[in-house]
């Protein structure tokens, strides 16, 4: 059994499909960007942690008067 699809139905499906696809691509781009921001935040957190550890070590090395 074949489903008869008229030309009008094809065009309507294409119009709605395009809008859905563009919104989907947009959300995907935003998701990728958020992923990049998250890794950048991890990197900066690591830098701050390393700096703090180095500062603590320096403080421990200082002789107590």
């Amino acid at each position: 059994m074949t489903l008869a699809v008229t030309a009008a139905e094809k065009y309507v499906a294409a119009a709605y499909g395009i809008v859905f696809l563009v919104v989907l691509v947009y959300v995907l781009i935003i998701a990728l960007k958020l992923g990049r921001l998250e890794s950048e935040l991890d990197e900066l957190t690591g830098q701050v942690r390393e700096r703090r550890e180095a500062e603590t070590e320096q403080r421990e090395e200082l002789p107590v008067a």
Binding site: A15, Y16, V19
Partner: protein
Amino acid sequence: MGFRAKENPLAALAALAGLLVVASIALIFFYVPTDADQGFSQRIFYIHVPVALTAYAFFGWGAWKALRHLWKREPGADLESYVAIHQGVIFGSLTLLTGSLWAKISWGHWWLWSESQLVLFLVLFLFYGAYFMLRYSLEPGPARANICAVYALFGVVLIPISFLAIRLANQLIHPVVFTLQGPQMAGSMFLTFCVSLTAMLTLAATLFHVELAGKRIDSRLRELRELLA
């Protein structure tokens, strides 16, 4: 698992957008009657016109924020203007694509250069498309923000011209359903259109806020990186 709308307004807006989109799709395909003149293809109207009006709204919002930047020096207005214009261009491209599909099935042409409404919308779209070329050709800073704000304000003049073009044109192929006498359609069609328009505006507002949040985090991270350097 629930969420409180007051604590997370963006999630609430996204949920509302999702509900409205589902409701509009249900109304378009299961409630609204088929148009006697154009037949099934008239259903493109319920997505094409809301998408176009959303594009106009975001170009207008971008210009408003540009004005706030120049006039009040509102912090973050430049970024909001940029994101609004970005949304406007996305919805503008969707307007051109859906309009082209509707034109092909209704008029037999993908595009008609003789139609002033189509050409003026294309001019508006290209004008705001060039905004990004201008923005990314300049060094970030107050000068770029000012130049971009002036450019965004110039573009807003094209919005009423583009909107009124079909009403001022002598040759009418592009249909006019909203006249001074009110909407020229059945009540069920108008209800479906209103729900679709609200859904599209809510969806666009959600995307706008998500993109804006991403841009703000990006700029704060850059600032943090500079502080740590």
